[in-house]
């Protein structure tokens, strides 16, 4: 069906990147109501904002993956999130072995628990902490860093890298001519990548000669004929995918879950008292504030009609999972954190054949971290002298989270 009467979406012309990064919800709420599939000028792209349209496109045979322009400018080609067919299949085959549930179950506890303990020991007797910088992000990056083979890269360096790559990847503003509106916004991402290469290149040199059990070493060797390794240029874009999203999002997920629980003290108490509720608390946390809010896209492979909108072949659509997870057609009072809401499947990890490859690893990393936090500090409270601010459109989470407890 094609609608002849289109809603007046001229209000979208006023929307800026800064608005979206501060708080995308109002804009997307209006999009969901007026045009669940709409062209958003500042992004220079179509946007899918409801649960139904996101799910339809993400799982449609008439669409395939495409990286957003700013994402492509940041990661280069071939990044796993933006490729299809054999290349995508090869990259998934390369990364998946380390992330299979049965494999993750083998070592996740021994990997993450000591890391969480180590960071907790640094502040548990202080009676106060800023949990994003002192706990959520460090546990997130250290766990994945050690898995990848980056033991020698400091956690603070890994945090700095994902923050710089994030701002570059989401430097999405476009001019009406289809040019990047803020080309200088890519500079810090380029600097980060240069530093990454200066540190990871020598490691790769070593892994080529001396394979070990680290994930990147396996990426180089697995499935290759003896004596050959995957070309580093071929795997770097996917290394950047990891050094941004996979490093950053478990931290976002933990922090958002904590903010959500702090908004419901009785639910926080329930979860602290009964650690088996932690997984459910996290599921609601990433529904409530989806860490990958709007960072991936799909492109039509032929002319299609979606949500009453005709799209020619080759039309890119951004997947706004963070908006889909606030769809009032699916969730009652979606802006409220509620541990006990009917546990419907959400879209925080995406859908279709490009859905997140790290779901099991990420969920367990977050679970173990929060179990250790609540075990060490069962009397945790939000420090109400400090506010909590969320930031981000592509990736979203609290920028800081101050907590106190009696010692």
């Amino acid at each position: 069906m094609t609608t002849t009467e289109r809603p007046d979406l001229s209000w979208l012309d006023e929307v800026t990147m800064a608005d979206l990064e501060r708080n995308p919800y109002a804009t997307y709420e209006r999009l969901r109501a007026e045009a669940p599939l709409a062209y958003v000028p500042v992004l220079g792209s179509y946007v899918a904002s409801t649960e139904e349209v996101c799910r339809e496109i993400a799982t449609s045979p008439d669409f395939e993956a495409v990286i957003t322009p700013a994402g492509g400018r940041t990661f280069g080609h071939p990044a796993v999130i933006g490729v299809n067919g054999d290349v995508h299949a090869d990259l998934r085959t390369m990364i998946e072995p380390a992330l299979q549930p049965a494999e993750v179950d083998r070592w996740i506890d021994d990997l993450v628990r000591p890391i969480a303990r180590r960071y907790l020991e640094q502040f548990e007797n202080d009676g106060q902490a800023e949990l994003v910088a002192q706990f959520c992000e460090p546990v997130s990056v250290r766990s994945l860093g050690d898995l990848l083979g980056l033991q020698d890269v400091e956690s603070d360096k890994l945090r700095e890298w994902f923050a710089k790559l994030n701002r570059s990847f989401t430097n999405a503003a476009m001019t009406s001519d289809g040019e990047f509106a803020n080309p200088e916004g890519f500079v810090e991402g380029d600097e980060a990548k240069a530093e990454i290469r200066s540190i990871v290149d020598p490691l790769i040199d070593e892994w080529i000669e001396q394979p070990d059990d680290s994930a990147i070493s396996h990426w180089l060797h697995d499935g290759m004929p003896p004596g050959q390794t995957r070309d580093r240029e071929y795997i770097y874009p996917t290394i950047y995918v990891y050094l941004l999203g996979a490093m950053q999002e478990p931290g976002h997920g933990m922090a958002s879950t904590l903010v959500g629980l702090f908004s419901r003290p009785e639910q926080l108490e329930e979860v602290v008292d009964d650690p088996t509720l932690v997984p459910r608390a996290i599921a609601e946390g990433v529904r409530w504030t989806s860490p990958i809010w709007s960072a991936t896209a799909r492109i039509s492979t032929k002319p299609v009609t979606v949500a009453g909108v005709d799209l020619p072949e080759g039309t890119a659509v951004m997947m706004s999972y963070g908006s889909a997870n606030h769809d009032t057609g699916r969730y009652e009072a979606p802006t409220t954190y509620d541990l006990h809401r009917p546990p419907l499947p959400h879209l925080a990890f995406g859908a279709g054949n490009h859905a997140c490859a790290g779901i099991y690893f990420a969920n367990h990393t977050m679970r173990i971290a929060l179990e250790e936090l609540f075990e060490a500090i069962p009397n945790l409270e939000r420090d109400t002298r400090e506010g909590v601010e969320f930031w981000g459109w592509g990736f979203r989470g609290p920028t800081s989270l101050h907590a106190t407890w009696e010692v």
Binding site: V272, D273, D274, P275, T276, H340, P342, P343, F374, E375, A376, I377, P378, N379, W405, E406, V407
Partner: protein, 336 residues
């Protein structure tokens, strides 16, 4: 009519009007359970396949949403056909002390404090239980069941010791246990029930413990504390007994004697409403907060009126005891 109930790879027979939990426990298949009256939610589980009748599951414990999502309270639900269950957040199935129905004989009744009786019940066959568990008594004539904790250690398995507090107008206490019950009477009981007990000896590292009992909430702690000290005579153990006034205290001699035997055991009676010379004043949970600056690495045991147990959980967490180490037994009234 009986059906097959499958849980964790084991299959047990369950009568159509028998609770799922009852059937599993009787067959030695463990699942989490605490109150056995539908009020605590510990036994909530997933019905993976098949249908159950929720019986008298209260909506406060099992919401409509949860019912739609396939959850049930094992202690209330009855099978409508063969069912498969998955306990929440449980891993390996542990074997439980099988639940049994027994006829016990009243051996002795003694008034030990204001409105408080000790009742000793003789058994024909020894009962296998863990110190801290409880039994259910059937109130003659009414068919009502009431729970009473065992003050015994596991080797005191032929004579059960109960501490019972009078509840004015209460069916079991006022109407029977404090009025009419006599030595020689036969009493229908079933047990053991509940998860308020120490870990198996092999998993008990002898770490420090604090126990707080309110009123007859002391009962299971008397069994637990003796078991814990026998396992690890050097361990640090503090037992608080909270009551309103001095004349509600009992078993003081027994516990003081224990303190003489075990150097790191302390017994602290606390009076909340009627101060008396030589006793701590206030609530036992506050006394704990005053006495213990950090409870990291401790395990905590709380038993008695629900409000006291709640206050105890808060006090323990305030002193940073890990919540999974906090054990609780609430004396929830049957009609709550």
């Amino acid at each position: 009519m009986t059906f097959a109930v499958t849980v964790g790879g084991r299959s047990v027979e369950c009568d159509q009007d028998q609770a799922l939990l009852d059937a599993c426990l009787r067959a030695g298949v463990w699942m989490p359970n605490s109150c056995n009256q539908g009020t605590c939610g510990t036994c909530k589980l997933h019905v993976v396949s098949g249908e159950v009748d929720h019986g008298s599951s209260p909506v406060e414990t099992l919401s409509d949403e949860e019912r739609c999502a396939g959850m049930a309270l094992a202690c209330q639900a009855r099978p409508r056909g063969d069912v498969e269950l998955r306990p929440q957040g449980t891993s390996a199935a542990r074997t439980a002390n099988p639940l049994r129905d027994m006829v016990a004989t009243v051996r002795e009744i003694s008034d030990i404090a204001r409105d408080t009786r000790r009742i000793l019940l003789g058994l024909n066959e020894p009962l296998t239980f863990d110190a801290g568990q409880y039994v259910e008594l059937v109130v003659p004539g009414s068919g009502e069941r009431r729970q009473y904790s065992l003050a015994n250690t596991a080797d005191e398995d032929k004579e059960l010791e109960l501490h019972v507090k009078l509840v004015p107008g209460g069916v079991a206490t006022h109407g029977w246990l404090f009025d009419g019950l006599a030595a020689g009477d036969e009493v229908d009981i079933s047990g053991p029930l509940g998860d308020f007990h120490l870990p198996p000896e092999s998993e008990d590292d002898g770490g420090p413990m604090v126990l707080i009992g309110g009123g007859t909430g002391l009962a299971p702690l008397v069994g637990i504390v003796r078991t814990a000290l026998r396992r690890h005579p050097e361990r640090e153990v503090v037992l608080y007994h909270g009551v309103r006034g001095e004349d509600e205290l009992y078993d003081g001699d027994r516990l003081t004697e224990l303190a003489g035997q075990y150097p790191n055991f302390r017994f602290v009676p606390v009076l909340s409403h009627e101060p008396a010379d030589g006793y701590r004043e206030g609530f036992p949970t506050d006394a704990f907060v005053e006495d213990v600056s950090t409870a990291r690495g401790w395990t905590g045991w709380l038993c008695g009126p629900p409000a006291m147990v709640e206050a105890g959980v808060k006090a323990f967490k305030r002193r940073r005891m890990a919540p999974r180490n906090i054990h609780r037994e609430k004396f929830t009234p049957a009609d709550a």
